[in-house]
Subunit: 228 residues, 2 copies
DNA sequence: CCTACCAGTTACAATACCGTCACACCTTGT
DNA sequence: ACAAGGTGTGACGGTATTGTAACTGGTAGG
């Protein structure tokens, strides 16, 4: 469950954000009322995202931001900046420093939620990305696994690389030499039946969907998207 | 060099964006005047970022966006949406669909540049491009290989998953149980020395940089970014 | 219908990979 | 300084994985 830290000295704003975030998705929310407290939570809890108001008591928001970026423990965390004063120069200053997003108050809660969601999807490797989907296939580049019709299918390293090569360009016929280069690293055109054997093994593991790998006689193989 | 695709039917706007982008950073710019052309370039050139105006001839901007997200070749590419009409509902619709950013016209060119830069910084190094970089390490999720100091280091599937788990959260200590779950799929806390052995094998392969994997006694392991 | 060629399939041997164990070493608290 | 507990290390056997070879089956052109 993603953790989000809200740093703002206005309690009702914190409430507004928190309420809206919790209504839509499953997040864990941490609230801080001033800069020092915010920085402390950031380092201790390492949230997945920080929403930072620039008008803060104790420590200026931009200073808090810089401290977050300086520390190895927190420097990768995306930050959305908020400000009461929607002046362009301030916005540019925040973005210049590397803020991932910048919203002037008053903002639409719905917009904030959507920006939070999109930023987390883009940032958090486990959520959303690094999975290639094509038809009923979900190829997980992190776990080196294939999800097909609800089942987890274990692939060996070679099978994974071969299927990835095919699935990456659906509908495109890949020549034997191309595949041998991509998967096995063979640079010159080698006469081998290895490719055929691995294609067979893949087709077996894919079961019903084994037909997704089509043979193009005299050329190579092709991955086709099934309607399902 | 990052490639950026601009899809907008107003040539002067394309020029404005292009000029400003080129002045600040080293980018390769591709311009498209209508939706079909934009989609064609997106699939053919696979840019690192797409700036997409919603008002387009031939094909509606939101339709273009959806086509981009449907195709395995383009679905990871971040998109910044532009619109002449800064209406909130439209903005929300764009963000709802997963647009990474949304700017109403007229916008400050400076702001656009900064948002492009920040989005690329957030997007490029890790998620999306299938190469995770951290310090001198380049971990290729497609080839299952590690590039370190110019050398290609072959990793076994287990080693790859272990290093990936560590490198994904630099500086964060990962508990033994956590790693055993992520890499081996063990759900319950198992007493095993397997993890230790694989850590050793990884450190051996990393050579000088083997120290990048730190032991946190009683807890687990941690990947640290070296300065180089 | 026949031939040449390409792909599918099966079997098998070599090996890369993996998990466990035993022991040495180091860290930490008393 | 000692004991206890966690970690590093090297060796070893079982096993999954891999590439090759040989055979079978299918397709296209004449």
């Amino acid at each position: 469950m993603p953790t989000i830290l809200i740093v703002d000295d206005e309690e009702d704003i914190r409430e507004l954000i928190s309420m809206n975030l919790l209504r839509e998705e499953k997040y864990e929310i941490i609230e801080a009322g001033d800069g020092l407290e915010g920085l402390h939570f950031a380092k201790k809890k390492r949230p997945d995202l920080i929403i930072l108001d620039l008008m803060l008591p104790e420590m200026d928001g931009l200073t808090v931001y810089q401290r977050i970026r300086e520390d190895a423990r927190t420097q990768e965390i995306p930050v959305i900046m908020l400000t009461a004063r929607g002046r362009l120069e301030e916005k540019l200053e925040g973005l210049e420093l590397g803020a991932d997003d910048y919203l002037p108050k008053p903002f639409s809660p719905k917009e904030l939620i959507l920006r939070v969601r999109n930023l987390l999807r883009r940032t958090n490797p486990n959520v959303g990305s690094s999975v290639i989907e094509s038809g009923p296939f979900s190829l997980d580049k992190n776990a080196l696994k294939l999800l097909l019709e609800g089942e987890e299918i274990e692939l060996t390293a070679t099978e994974f690389k071969l299927l990835l090569s095919l699935i990456e360009s659906p509908g495109v016929t890949q020549e034997r030499g191309e595949l041998l280069k991509k998967v096995w690293g063979y640079s010159d055109l080698i006469q081998t039946r290895t490719l055929d054997t691995h294609i067979k093994r893949l087709r077996e593991k894919l079961g019903d969907q084994g037909t997704s790998i089509e043979t193009v006689r005299g050329v190579g193989y092709r991955f086709v998207k099934t309607s399902d």
